[in-house]
């Protein structure tokens, strides 16, 4: 099986607030450093990746963040339009069919049509878009929606095909399903934190992803605290009197968080059959390109 950085499509999933955007950017950056041309696709309501690199939001236009690293914000309305135009060819026909009150209804009623066209756009970038008669991107990173919605997002072709079996959309959905199931081309990673709820959700998500046969990428355990003090040291400093009260509390806090990290790392290693990649907690006053660089260096050797 090819290394993660050699896949066409890398999907990053996980609960909200675990650092999916950070890991998406970091994985993209690691690939870009190896000379791959990478596009990071964000599909949630608010885009974040461009801001990490001090750039204005991409919006629906692809923006260069660093040499070889690009991002785009995939939004339902534009994706719908692009996809509709691609399928229907004629602008007037598209307008007639989609830019009216009936289409608004249709967008809401057709099962997850918004997700379908967004996923369709990601698929198009990953496998169809060409530049000088070769594929434009070596790798597309999909920063997927948070857990519950993330799985819905990835299984949308499957659900759609149960309802609709003919037409261009159904045909593309089939190709999408093939791509999402192909371990040579695709990898679906999970991001989590060393905390109870995120860890439990990662366990559920991993199981659901495997049930749907998505190629299992690594489990990123983000914001890990490594133990720094022995219990004897913490005890001694804590008892060291008023002048060591601050230091004692800091050491105790640190070890409490390191305990949690250790506990959830062990739990996840036991229950999630994926390669576990630890990402250290970063103490940054501003979370920008430097932080992404650090995360990307921390994970790249394992990818």
């Amino acid at each position: 099986m090819p290394a993660l950085l050699d896949r066409r499509l890398v999907v990053v999933t996980g609960k909200g607030g675990t650092g999916k955007s950070t890991l998406s950017a970091a994985v993209g950056l690691a690939a870009a450093r190896r000379g791959k041309k990478v596009l990071v696709c964000e599909v949630v309501a608010k885009e974040r990746v461009a801001a990490f690199f001090g750039k204005p939001p991409s919006g629906p236009q692809i923006r260069e963040l660093l040499p070889n690293l690009y991002s785009v914000h995939v939004r339902p309305r534009e994706a719908m339009r692009e996809y509709g135009l691609m399928t229907l060819k004629y602008e007037t026909l598209y307008k007639l069919a989609f830019e009216n009150a009936a289409a608004r209804y249709f967008l809401a009623a057709a099962p997850s049509l918004a997700e379908i066209v967004m996923l369709g756009k990601v698929w198009w970038h990953a496998t169809q878009e060409t530049e000088r008669s070769r594929l434009r991107w070596d790798m597309v990173v999909l920063d997927a929606p948070a857990t519950g919605h993330g799985l819905t997002f990835l299984t949308v072709p499957e659900v759609f095909l149960r309802l609709v079996s003919e037409g261009p959309l159904a045909r593309d959905m089939r190709s999408m399903m093939l791509l999402l199931a192909d371990p040579a081309k695709c990898s679906v990673c999970v991001v989590t934190l060393p905390e109870e709820m995120p860890a439990n959700e990662a366990i559920d998500l991993d199981r659901a992803l495997r049930q749907h046969h998505f190629p299992a990428g690594p489990l990123f355990l983000n914001a890990v605290f490594e133990s720094r003090f022995t219990p004897a040291e913490v005890a001694a400093v804590t008892r060291g009197g008023p002048s060591l009260a601050a230091a004692g509390e800091a050491a105790d806090n640190h070890e409490a968080r390191a305990d949690l990290s250790r506990h959830y790392e062990a739990l996840l290693r036991d229950t999630v059959p994926r390669e576990l990649v630890k990402v250290p907690f970063l103490f940054e006053r501003t979370f920008g390109a430097q932080a992404i660089e650090k995360v990307s260096r921390a994970v790249e050797s394992t990818l």
Binding site: G16, T87, N100, A101, S112, E166, G240, S243, L244, A245
Partner: protein, 375 residues
Amino acid sequence: MKALQGREVLCCVGSGGVGKTTAAAALALRAAVEGKRALVLTIDPARRLANSLGLKTLGNQETRIEQSLFADAHLSPRGEMWAMMLDLKRTWDELVRRAARTPEQAQAILGNKLYQTLSTSMAGSLEYMAMEKVYELYSSGRFDLIVLDTPPTSNALDFLHAPDRILDVLDNNAMRLVLGPLLKAGKIGFRLLAAPSSLVLRTLARFTGIDFLRDLAAFMLAFEGMYEGFKERAAKVKELLASSRTGFVLVTSPNPLTTQEALFFHRALESDGIRTAAVVVNRVQRDPRRHGGPDNLPALQEALRLAQIKDENHLSDRLCQTLTEQAILADLDRREVDRLRDTLRGVPLFTVPRLRKDVHDLAGLWQIGEYLGGE
């Protein structure tokens, strides 16, 4: 929380992963201990509340928290605490059965292929049913307080306008016009229809295939006559949410991204004429420097020497680094809390410090609830 007194429904809103479920459960627990019949309703697809309450399962049925769990936490509530997790599909089914004019109509809808998908995976469906359930529980009069733990919606407007949007799907004149030929055909058995006649219909069919449009027409036909009932009820739900009986509690963590979303949520509520009742900032790092004492290397080395602790394996270096790191975290958190306080002037704000351990039992919830107690 004084700010929340007199409210009968509390909606905890905020982005995912900020401890909404824990805050919601903590509020219900406080109310129960104070003598109320309080229910916490969670609709998150992941089974979080069950975790927080030390329960193994939590169905669409209200479950009373057992006395033994309270005893374990050294609590003796004067009221009752109940919990439930919303089952999306079942709540939809109940609503359809109640609104249908005949059992046959209900069956026709429940059996429709499209209904099955719509009821479980349509965007906004979860939000709509959550509020539907809140309204049902509220109307039952069985509870003095209902605390709703909302799904991690990225768009506040989605949450408040979900009923409108879904109802629009059930009865849309424009779509009726487009599907017209299929709807008419439906009345005499639409399988007879060979091909869609209108241009728009033909174009849509090229996109999705005609079968889907036929299903859609069948679905709309099945719903005929029920729309008014749905609409009336949705209006009542909205009325309850906008009234002073309901309070919206913004829950956030001190992370800049989530506070931004909290503020966005606050503005969205405001634009709907709803005031935020309170803000809860969870997991705020306390600054170890509040104890005073040295925080630079030479002073720490001196303090260790005086306390007769050996400075082995660079202990002083490690302590100094740890102090610096936690001071950074505390500064960052304080900055965000201040920003929230400034922007939300007049809205009661509560901070809950980061606890040493995860909350997974009533004792932990109670501890959190204590920080929500003052003013």
